[in-house]
Subunit: 217 residues, 2 copies
DNA sequence: GTCTATAGCTTGATAGAC
DNA sequence: GTCTATCAAGCTATAGAC
């Protein structure tokens, strides 16, 4: 960040604190007061920089979204180039979508982890769908179109459903709710996410190929 | 519903209203006042019957949990009997887990739909994990053990991860967040859930079989 | 840009009448 | 079991000094 401009740091502090508290307590469970205290900032400053609470929330969602959509786009284009005009192998598309997210949760530090927790909750709620859509719909459409090329026997609804299966699985494990700590076979060590990712890609890819089989449905 | 005992109706009204408002607004976003108004009941009555708000929430989560765990258990036992001592085919286990949930969301009426929406959100949050665990852990363990028999090449972590993939996918689509209405190929008609289920079972089953392959990982 | 102070409202919970 | 009435605490948002 910019030492000449401390305002940026303040705004970043606020966004980080809001992200963390929204992730653990939800939108209504995290008060602006709590966020201000966590950010070591005065209550009124949050309203000054971000407006009403809903706008603050939207700012938190938006902040990291561009990184993911850009990164996914880059990965997809590389896969497209490697395919030389033929349909991209499903596995490559799945990987292009999933990896940027996992990489940040694994290596990005606590902010990215909190973002994942937060997104996992709002993705399953109707309330914030407009905000999520504004950030992610365009990118999703590109992936869905690409998938249609690679699983040509699937109906539009099947491709869309399968895409949602992938997202649901991704968010459920990246939310790190603690479920792995109580069920046997799991650990408290979140570097397991690396091996979960190594399972998820073939798992989802095989799913896509299965519903693409001609005798399906 | 017992016409001799109107108390049961009152309590049911409260649980139904709470379920609906929790599903759409989250725990903190739904006030006891809103719930009382929706249930057409006086504010104080909710506290009288259910105690503090957290207990009301837990009552809502618990109410329908037993139906699912019982129903899944029955389906699993039938599959086990049909397998005659051999490992149950993965697809049968997946179906035994998923079908009771889908069936209720499809045919159970608005209460069950609201329950699904609510569970989709809290399953991805750490906060309510103890409550969810109390209701579902025992049943989950049975399914995980059974899956281990059927995908014997998988590590414990892989089985657990795959189980979470399945749950994430299930909840994401049963939450009916409205995402299907904006992306092409989807409709507003939630009887599509029937065909989503028909895709999900082979999708997830193929995933399990893939990560069970000897050369995997 | 940052602070203090506060207005105005909503919240969860309960005491007490019936 | 159900109601009315109310309290203390917390909430969002903003006005106004610096």
């Amino acid at each position: 960040m910019n030492k000449i401009n401390p305002v940026i740091d303040r705004k970043t502090q606020i966004l980080d604190a809001a992200e963390e508290l929204f992730a653990f307590n939800g939108f209504d469970g995290a008060s602006i007061r709590d966020i201000a205290k966590r950010a070591e900032v005065q209550l009124a400053l949050i309203g000054y920089h971000f407006g009403p609470k809903e706008q603050l929330f939207e700012s938190v969602v938006t902040r990291r979204a561009g990184y993911f959509t850009d990164c996914r786009q880059t990965e997809l284009e590389e896969a497209r180039a490697a395919a030389k005009g033929k349909p991209i192998p499903v596995k490559k598309i799945v990987q292009a979508y999933l990896w940027p997210f996992f990489e940040r949760v694994i290596d990005g530090g606590p902010g990215w982890k909190n973002y994942a927790k937060m997104m996992a909750q709002i993705a399953n709620s109707r309330r914030w769908q407009p905000v999520v859509g504004k950030c992610y719909d365009e990118s999703s459409l590109i992936f869905i179109d690409e998938l249609k090329q690679s699983v040509p026997n699937c109906s539009d609804l099947t491709v869309l459903s399968s895409f949602q299966f992938m997202i649901g699985a991704m968010l459920n494990v990246c939310a790190e709710t603690g479920r792995y700590e109580v069920l046997p076979g799991g650990t408290k060590n979140s570097k397991d996410l690396q091996s979960i990712f190594a399972d998820l890609v073939p798992f989802i890819s095989a799913g896509f190929r299965e519903v693409n089989k001609k005798d399906h449905g």
